[in-house]
């Protein structure tokens, strides 16, 4: 066997990091281009139909829209490299500040949803998958299919009707920052998210566990007489977990997009609602900034997910 100077793992991680940065760069390019090719002038859109030409020109100048596109792009990149995402046209607050103010709320309920979903999916996926009992698997698939097929805003509305309007277990809308007071407002969105995530994650885990179950090394483990706990971890869960991890890291990114709907329905002042507000107000620096933020997070999350999966199960290619 040939001994290489750098370990293959370090080389692969280096390669993937470079790739993540280059994808992030393209995310920025696309966000920049999207804001320029969308019809209408951002300045006149912002100021409304009755605005005077001078005001529009002044705003255009302020936004740097009078420079040629190439120069604009250079300016944009140099701003970004300094961590400068621009300032809101509505409030004059910097986009970075808007994100740091609104993102923690979104992060809180996304993180809790994923944590709970993961903890619930593992026993479900492992036990139904390991038993491989046709009737259980069938009922499980039916139930999760229904959940997945139902639009999440519909589930949210039914939940609000049931828990908030009929029983008053959760406020219909509003928010109050600070733990644990915020949980009163957050538990329902978290529960809905968890339900949807469990349906997807446990299905993937179940499928992997069923595959693992029939593998020969499991037989070897039984015959070797491995203890129950070791068997559960090394012979069932660990070999089955990689696809689930990859899926979760990918879904955390896409979940950011879904926050728009839930935050609107529950009137939570998170980053999703901020994005909707910015779009409606034609506040293009905010829209652009949030999109870049989402994009970069998604890219790095999926990188981390792939890395974790690879460390867990070397059969997964990095």
């Amino acid at each position: 066997m040939k001994v290489k100077s750098t370990s293959p793992l370090a080389r692969k991680i280096f390669g993937r990091t470079i790739r993540a940065f280059s994808i992030s760069f393209w995310v920025m390019v696309i966000a920049f281009a999207l804001m320029r090719v969308t019809p209408g002038d951002p300045a006149s859109a912002r100021l409304g139909a009755g605005a005077e030409q001078e005001a529009i020109d002044a705003l255009r100048e302020q936004l740097g829209l009078n420079a040629n596109p190439f120069q604009q792009f250079i300016n944009y990149l140099s701003d970004l490299s300094r961590g400068e995402l621009g300032t809101s046209l509505v409030s004059g607050i910097s986009v970075g500040e808007i994100i740091t103010k609104t993102f923690p709320l979104t992060l809180t309920y996304i993180a809790f949803s994923f944590l709970f979903a993961f903890l619930i999916s593992i026993p479900i996926g492992v036990f139904i998958g390991w038993s491989n009992k046709a009737s259980w698997v069938y009922s499980f698939r039916t139930f999760t299919s229904i959940v997945i097929a139902t639009p999440n805003f519909f589930i949210a509305m039914v939940a609000i009707l049931f828990f908030s309007v009929q029983r008053d277990w959760a406020p219909v809308f509003g928010y109050e920052p600070g733990f644990p007071g915020n949980m009163r407002y957050l538990w329902l969105p978290i529960a809905i998210n968890t339900l949807i995530l469990v349906s997807i994650i446990s299905r993937v885990l179940l499928a992997s566990v069923v595959d693992t179950r029939s593998e020969e090394f499991v037989e070897t483990g039984i015959i070797r007489g491995v203890s129950r706990i070791r068997f559960f971890w090394f012979y069932i869960l660990k070999p089955s977990l990689a696809p689930t991890i990859v899926l979760m890291s990918y879904m955390m990114g896409t979940m950011l997009g879904a926050t728009v709907i839930l935050e609107t329905i529950f009137s939570l002042p998170g980053i999703g609602r901020e994005l909707v507000g910015a779009v409606l107000a034609s506040d293009y620096p905010v829209v652009q900034g949030i999109l870049i933020f989402f994009g970069v997070i998604t890219v790095f999350l999926s990188f981390i997910g792939d890395l974790l999966a690879h460390l867990l199960d070397r059969r997964v290619k990095l």
Partner: protein, 330 residues
């Protein structure tokens, strides 16, 4: 007969297909394994040889199969009725197992060192240093070079032959009395196969371990094993020392032997066994080899198959007409 290590007696194995439907996959198989014997078990796919192995290592249940009747006596314990506690004392300690596919045998998410440690510490806790010393000793025993490096590797970093050596090292970690090797060289190269067989023979010699070698390759079994047990359609139909395989007492054994391609001139007439082996669940009544047998008579189809019987001091046959066909015991 204190020399007997394990005795499988008239075993029948069923598999649950649906809630009501049961399929018999092994129907009257018997085997005796002497201490220190290298026993070859041969049969085509669907003959039940793998299920018989699973009964020996107690993993039938996983495949939805169970022993219908019969017994497996292993050092005074009936493995068919063995409790979980009995199995805990047997698995890994007294019976080692080398899996069918070398490529899927080792656990892909564990380092080789961890898997060996698992096998080594079955007998009770051992210090890290002890485990490491024993691991290296075992890897050296199965002729793996640079064992310190291999301990830190994952299975995907090893070749097929190396993986199978590791599996053998795990199987012999507790000095088991019996090793069940289920087609251990399928998918491996011929040169690697020869090395693995050499290794198994050495282990047998050095530790006086009994080995059951399962294969569909008569040529291989014949060259390595002391005794050969032939399975056909769920039944053991012949037991013969490999030195006397040309004087076998069942037409199927002869047919298998005669269909070897190394016996004829290039592109010469092969003596193939006609037709297909009877598939599980569609076994004919009477002798299950009747449709493919050159010596078949009506009586073969009408007499229920009987378990094989001892014909002379070394041979057993299930053919009811072996005397007529082969002129009786020699």
């Amino acid at each position: 007969m204190s020399n007997v290590l394990a005795k499988i007696q008239d075993i029948r194995i069923d598999v649950r297909v649906t809630r009501r439907l049961r399929l018999r996959i092994v129907d009257t198989a018997s085997l005796t394994i002497q201490k220190g014997q290298l026993l070859g078990l041969i049969g085509e796919s669907g003959s039940g040889k793998t299920m018989l192995c699973r009964a020996l290592v107690g993993t039938l249940n996983r495949r939805g199969a169970y022993v219908h009747s019969g017994s497996i006596d292993f050092e005074g314990i009936d493995l068919v009725k063995a409790s979980k506690k009995d199995w805990r004392n047997i698995r890994g300690h007294k019976i080692g197992y080398i899996p069918q596919s070398a490529l899927a045998g080792p656990n892909p998410v564990m380092r080789i060192g961890a898997q060996l440690a698992e096998a080594i510490t079955q007998g009770g806790r051992k210090s890290k240093e002890e485990v490491r010393r024993r691991s290296i000793e075992l890897l050296e025993l199965v002729q793996i070079r640079r064992p310190e490096v291999v301990l830190k590797q994952y299975p995907y970093e090893l070749s097929g032959g190396m993986k199978q050596r590791v599996m053998i090292a795990c199987a012999i970690a507790q000095n088991p009395k019996l090793i069940v090797a289920d087609e251990p060289t399928t998918g491996l190269d011929v040169t690697v196969q020869a090395e693995i067989m050499e290794l198994l023979r050495n282990i047998r010699k050095e530790f006086d371990t009994s080995i059951i070698l399962v294969s569909h390759d008569l040529q291989l079994i014949n060259s390595v094993c002391d005794d050969i047990v032939v399975m056909h359609a769920g039944a053991t139909i012949e037991k013969v020392p490999s030195s006397k395989v040309t004087a076998a007492l069942h037409p199927y054994t002869h047919a298998l032997y005669d269909s070897r391609i190394d016996l004829v001139e290039p592109r010469g007439k092969l003596r193939t066994i006609k037709g297909q082996p009877p598939s599980v669940g569609k076994w004919p009544t009477g002798c299950r080899f009747a449709d493919r047998c050159d010596f078949v008579k009506d009586v073969c189809r009408s007499t229920d198959p009987t378990p094989f019987v001892q014909v002379n001091d070394s041979q057993w046959s299930a053919c009811i007409r072996h005397k007529e066909i082969y002129g009786g015991a020699k």
